[in-house]
Symmetry: C2
Subunit: 384 residues, 2 copies
């Protein structure tokens, strides 16, 4: 199959933008990506995939109507928090198979405000008060604490690290460092998770223009290869599954093979990259425990050792495997349709050596990871 | 590229089903398709695409949760009235490229009740009262009448034909023959289109299980080949375009190259089939003028001759090119996510010789066509 590379990337800052439409947010990011791809014309794009969750019908069509409607297929895709990765995957696959030369994958979102109640929880979870995301995250965290001795301080350290990283990222919703004290004294949401250990649903957009390796020189002097992009739903269910953020585990151990591990192993195999080769990782830190959990599920450490990884500073910038260098979702916020592609934008910049003050020196290989409602997950490996 | 065939099809009757959930409607159709594919297990399916427009987040996930969540990618896709065709297209493409052996394409919908106002109309159309679908259909019809002498009687004849066909289709919403008088005396919605010249938004589901030709014998003794499936958005815009149901033409002639014609020509070319080779056609008869329009755009006759085609009875069952043998959307109703795959189910049965009392004798090649909001369209050619 043909090698697929990133011809250009674009992003709209994540945050809250009153008075700015879904379409405007998406268009700014698409225009930035076209400019980044050597000022290419939109008419070069042969197919477009729009990842979104709350954009309504025709979300991608409405957005691209402001760029130019050039008679191409526009496909809106939705896989909850993995929607942007699904857009990337479908676009990548079409190029790999030789069906297209240039494809646009974009994600855009304006998350609803206020209390979020997902539609994918079964009735028994609604009735028992479990049908809000923090409860599932908290149950997983307490189980991990009980099994492995993970501490509230370790959870707080993840948040300290990511917020510190975000100070250097102008596209993050919150560019503000937080202290251990601030985090550990913030309001308890659901034990052991406190307010400053959660990401905020928000608005934003992110874009990757893909092309075949054989034509990359037309668009970029620094092609980044899409070495792997796998998406899937967790086995054994959506909300009943023991995998996926917002879901309640029902297995006797939480270390059954999680969808993240399944996808990571597929991605490592196809790309010939192991976790030890990664120069940076962007993962689904919806809450600070999730980051610790995904260290383990992605194979960055052994099961149960996630707390130690943060304690030892190994996932800091300057550590051996920097995680959430962008600030992660904890600082950037999570516009669901866009967040996966936001990671791709960050890692692309890092692999090109264009990440400015937050550059990971000499980065050659990066991994992006999302999970979400419905058991959806995706793992992407990018290489330069 | 590998040849793709239909391993099994399923459908849930189109209509209104109080007290039956979106998920139940979808599940019944998926189970029927699995049974049809030689009682295959759902675990054989390697990827699933769910076309829907109003199902909410995780529509496909929630539906398949009642069948078995086997750790596969489930991708929700939306392209308005072409959503089901997009599911078919993405599923077909993955098999053609060798990425999957067995893929599920399904469409399911419970259309909202009451007055429908699409989100994709530009503000000037809303302010001028054009932003409801019948207005666009009617403007096209009056233009055609002025240019070619198409008559109200010809419009009524389309509705007579399709409702007559539907009497033999137990999956249609309305199984009731209508007379010319009933139609021409029904309330005027928007001149020249009357109530009984429109399809009804409704509920339903339809499914195609696809596989590679090389493994078809495991699933079916009557494989039907997906000879072409093309989807696209109209050039020059969504609601501003001169293509797509519900859109307002702005060109000086309505016979510029419409998206339907572009896609049909692509499909004819790749499949080696011309309009003269088609044994039956299912098309987007949202209203009875649309059927006449699409006769022309699909190349079944010359521009302006659509009215004559219906007058001469050539599109009746028994004519040289039967159209809407199923009863069409006029009789079946239109559950947007499902309607494209509903056509595929009908044509598959016809090509297998399993269409019972409405069988088109000796049918070997059929075409399915949808268009809709946002300028979305799709053309599929099936062969036995």
């Amino acid at each position: 199959m043909r090698e697929v590379v990133i011809a250009g990337v674009g992003i709209h800052k994540f945050g809250r933008f009153e008075g700015k439409s879904f379409e405007q947010i998406g268009q700014e990011a698409v225009r930035m990506a076209l400019k980044d791809a050597n000022n290419t014309y939109f008419k070069d794009v042969q197919i477009a995939f729009c990842g979104h969750m709350h954009g309504g019908t025709g979300a991608g069509h409405r957005t691209l109507a402001g760029i130019g409607l050039t008679g191409i297929p526009i496909v809106n895709v939705e896989t909850a928090c993995a929607s942007g990765a699904t857009a990337l995957q479908q676009a990548s696959q079409g190029i790999a198979a030789g069906l297209y030369d240039v494809a646009l994958a974009f994600g855009v979102e304006k998350m609803p405000r206020g209390f979020m109640r997902m539609t994918s929880f079964p009735q028994w979870q609604v009735l028992s008060g479990l049908a809000v995301n923090p409860v599932g995250f908290a149950l997983r965290a307490t189980r991990h604490m009980a099994e492995y001795g993970t501490t509230e301080e370790q959870l707080a350290k993840v948040s300290v690290k990511n917020h510190k990283n975000a100070v250097l990222n102008p596209y993050a919703m919150y560019q503000k460092a937080l202290t251990m004290e601030e985090i550990l004294n913030s309001p308890m949401v659901c034990y052991p998770l406190r307010l400053l250990m959660f990401c905020a649903p928000c608005e934003g957009a992110a874009v990757a223009i893909l092309c075949g390796r054989d034509m990359a020189s037309k668009y970029t002097s620094k092609p980044v290869t899409v070495a792997a992009v796998y998406t899937s739903v967790a086995q054994y269910g959506t909300s009943e599954s023991n995998a996926g953020a917002g879901d309640i585990g029902h297995s006797t151990k939480i270390q059954n093979t999680e969808v993240t591990t399944v996808l990571a192993n597929q991605a490592y195999e196809i790309s010939g990259v192991g976790p030890e080769d990664l120069d940076l990782v962007e993962l689904q830190d919806t809450d600070s425990f999730s980051e610790i959990r995904f260290y383990e599920e992605l194979g960055l450490c052994q099961p149960g050792e996630g707390g130690r990884l943060i304690d030892e500073g190994r996932t800091e910038v300057g550590g051996d495997i920097p995680v959430s260098v962008s600030g992660g979702l904890l600082s950037k916020g999570e516009p669901t349709g866009a967040s996966a592609l936001g990671q791709v934008v960050e890692v692309t910049w890092q692999l090109r050596g264009e990440a400015g003050p937050r550059q990971v020196s000499g980065a050659k290989v990066g991994l992006c990871h999302v999970t979400g409602a419905g058991g959806n997950a995706a793992v992407t490996i990018l290489k330069r």
